[in-house]
C-alpha cells in the first residue's frame, strides 16, 4: 500500500503542475512559439517519436561514453591525487579551474582535435561530469578511520591491499553519490556538445527545431532528454543498490 502512495504523490504533483501550465497557456494566450501547452508538446512527442528516438540513441551513446570516460578518468585522478601530495598540489587548482571554462570555448578545440564523431561530445560530457566524481572519490578514499588503516598495517597489508580491501570499498558510497550527480551533468554536457558540432542527437534536434520556430519540438526533445536522464539515474541507483547491499540492510 505504501508503494502506491510513494508513486501517487509525485505523479499527483506532476499532474497538478502540468494542469497549471496548460491552464496558464490557455488563459494568458501564450503563443505556441514562446511556450507551447503541454498537450501540444505531448502530441508532438507522439507524432515525432521515431525521429526523437533516432536522435535519442545518438545522444545516449555520447552520454554513456562520457560517463565512462568521466567516471574512470575522475576516479583515476582521485587516486593519483590521493597518493601523491605533489600531484595534489599541482592538479587540484587545475581541476577546479577546468569547471570554469565555458563549453563553447573548448568545444571547437575538441572538434579540431577529434573530428566530428562521437568523441568530442563524449569528451565535453566527461569534462563536465568528472568533477563530482573526483571530489567524491577523493573524499571516499580518505574516509576510512586511522584505526582501520592501522589495523591493516598491523596485519602486514601492502599499500595495494590497503587500497583494494579498505579504501576502494570504503569510497563506493560517496562514489555512487557522485555518479548520480555526474549522470545529470553528462546529459547536459552531451547536449551542449552537440550544439557546437553534430549531425544527430537531441541537442542538434533542439537547434534545428528552434530555427524553424517549432518550440513544441524543442520541448519534446527536452522531454526525451529528461526520460534519458531518469533512465540513466535509475540504472545507477540499481547498480548502487546491488553494490551497497550492506548499507541498506537495517
Amino acid at each position: 500500500m505504501k508503494r502506491l502512495t510513494d508513486v501517487a504523490a509525485p505523479v499527483a504533483l506532476l499532474v497538478l503542475l502540468l494542469a497549471i501550465w496548460e491552464g496558464a497557456t490557455w488563459l494568458l494566450d501564450v503563443p505556441h512559439y514562446i511556450l507551447p501547452a503541454p498537450s501540444r508538446i505531448a502530441g508532438t512527442f507522439i507524432s515525432h517519436f521515431p525521429s526523437l528516438f533516432h536522435h535519442a540513441v545518438a545522444t545516449l551513446a555520447e552520454i554513456v561514453l562520457g560517463l565512462l570516460l568521466g567516471g574512470l578518468g575522475g576516479f583515476a585522478l582521485a587516486v593519483a591525487v590521493f597518493y601523491s601530495p605533489v600531484l595534489e598540489r599541482a592538479l587540484y587548482p587545475l581541476i577546479v579551474a577546468s569547471q570554469m571554462i565555458p563549453v563553447f570555448a573548448i568545444a571547437p578545440l575538441l572538434i579540431v582535435w577529434m573530428g566530428y564523431g562521437l568523441w568530442p561530445k563524449a569528451t565535453v560530457a566527461a569534462l563536465i561530469g568528472f568533477f563530482p566524481i573526483v571530489v567524491n572519490a577523493s573524499d571516499g578514499l580518505r574516509s576510512p578511520s586511522e584505526e582501520s588503516v592501522e589495523l591493516f598495517r598491523s596485519l602486514g597489508a601492502t599499500r595495494r591491499q590497503i587500497f583494494t580491501k579498505l579504501r576502494f570499498p570504503a569510497s563506493l558510497p560517496t562514489l555512487f553519490a557522485g555518479m548520480k550527480v555526474a549522470v545529470t551533468l553528462c546529459v547536459v554536457g552531451a547536449t551542449i556538445g552537440e550544439w557546437v558540432g553534430a549531425h544527430r542527437g537531441l541537442g542538434y534536434l533542439m537547434l534545428q527545431s528552434n530555427a524553424l520556430l517549432r518550440v513544441d519540438l524543442v520541448f519534446a526533445a527536452i522531454l526525451m532528454l529528461s526520460i534519458l536522464g531518469l533512465l540513466l539515474f535509475g540504472a545507477v541507483r540499481i547498480i548502487e543498490r546491488r553494490a551497497l547491499r550492506w548499507r541498506d540492510i537495517s
Binding site: S145, E147, S148, E150, L151, F152, R153, S154, L155, G156, A157, Q161, K165, L166, P169, A170, L172, L244, W246, R247, I249, S250
Partner: protein
C-alpha cells in the same frame, strides 16, 4: 621460544611538543595476561602502536614475539570498531588470512569453527550493522585471533559495552585465553576488569607516562567477580594508585 613474549626497555616517544611516553620498561611472560591500567590520554594507545610496529620509539628497545618490533608479530585490536561494514561477518573474520594469502577455504573453515565455538553460529553471512554491540566485539576478537599471532594487544575492547555484555565478554575472553594460551596485553581503565582477567597489572602515569606500578595479581583462578578477595585486591590497588602513582 623466549620466556618473555614482550620486552620493553626505556621506550620514550614524543609528538611535536608533547612528551607522551617517558622511559617505559616492563616484561610480559609468554602465555600470561598483563593489563595496563591508566587514565585516558596517557599514551596507552601510543605504546600499543609501538608494540605493533606501527610507530617507532624515539628511544629504547622493544622486542615482541621473536623479533624486535616487527609489524606483524602481534595481533592488534584497535580501540574503535574497525569491522568493515561492507563485508559479511565471516569475511571480516578472515581478513588476516586474506591479507596473508592463506587458502580461502581453509581460512573460512577455521573461522566457521570459531564462530560456533564463540556463539556466533548462523551469523556468518550477516553484516556488522546487523549484529549487536557484543556480537561485534566478539567478531573483532575472533578476527584478532585468526591473525594467528602469539601476542594479542587489546586496546580497551570492552569499554563501550554495557555492564552485562561486558561481563559476558570478559568470561568469554578468559575462556579463549585458557584454551589457546596466547600472550595478552590488555589496556583498560577498569580496575576490576584488570584484576579479574590478568596475571600482572601495570599502572601507567599521566603524560609523560611511565610505569608507576608493576604488580602481580595474587588471586587464584577461576576468579569470582563477587568475591571478597577481589574486592580486597581492588582496595589495595586503589590505595596504591591514589597514594603512589601520580
Amino acid at each position: 621460544m623466549s620466556s618473555r613474549a614482550i620486552a620493553v626497555r626505556g621506550v620514550a616517544k614524543s609528538f611535536a611538543e608533547t612528551h607522551v611516553l617517558n622511559s617505559v620498561t616492563f616484561d610480559v611472560k609468554t602465555g600470561t595476561w598483563a593489563t595496563i591500567l591508566g587514565p585516558s590520554g596517557c599514551g596507552k594507545t601510543t605504546l600499543l602502536r609501538i608494540l605493533t610496529g606501527l610507530l617507532d620509539p624515539d628511544a629504547g628497545d622493544v622486542v615482541v614475539g621473536f623479533a624486535p618490533g616487527l609489524t606483524g608479530c602481534a595481533a592488534y585490536l584497535p580501540q574503535r570498531d574497525t569491522l568493515l561494514p561492507w563485508r559479511t561477518a565471516l569475511d571480516n573474520a578472515t581478513l588476516a588470512s586474506e591479507i596473508e594469502g592463506r587458502p580461502r577455504a581453509e581460512a573460512r573453515a577455521e573461522a566457521v569453527e570459531l564462530f560456533a565455538h564463540f556463539g556466533l553460529a548462523g551469523f556468518e553471512d550477516r553484516f556488522p550493522s546487523q549484529l549487536s554491540g557484543g556480537m561485534r566485539q566478539r567478531l573483532s576478537l575472533i578476527r584478532t585471533f585468526l591473525a594467528r599471532r602469539d601476542v594479542l594487544l587489546l586496546d580497551e575492547p570492552l569499554g563501550a559495552l554495557d555492564p552485562l555484555t561486558r561481563a559476558t565478554l570478559q568470561d568469554w575472553l578468559l575462556l579463549v585465553w585458557t584454551e589457546f594460551r596466547k600472550t595478552i596485553l590488555l589496556v583498560t581503565h577498569d580496575v576490576e576488569e584488570a584484576l579479574l582477567l590478568s596475571d600482572r597489572v601495570l599502572v601507567m602515569t599521566e603524560r609523560p607516562a611511565s610505569i608507576a606500578l608493576d604488580t602481580p595479581v595474587e588471586l587464584r583462578r577461576p576468579r569470582d567477580r563477587a568475591s571478597a578477595d577481589l574486592a580486597a585486591e581492588k582496595g589495595k590497588l586503589l590505595q596504591m594508585l591514589l597514594g603512589g602513582g601520580r
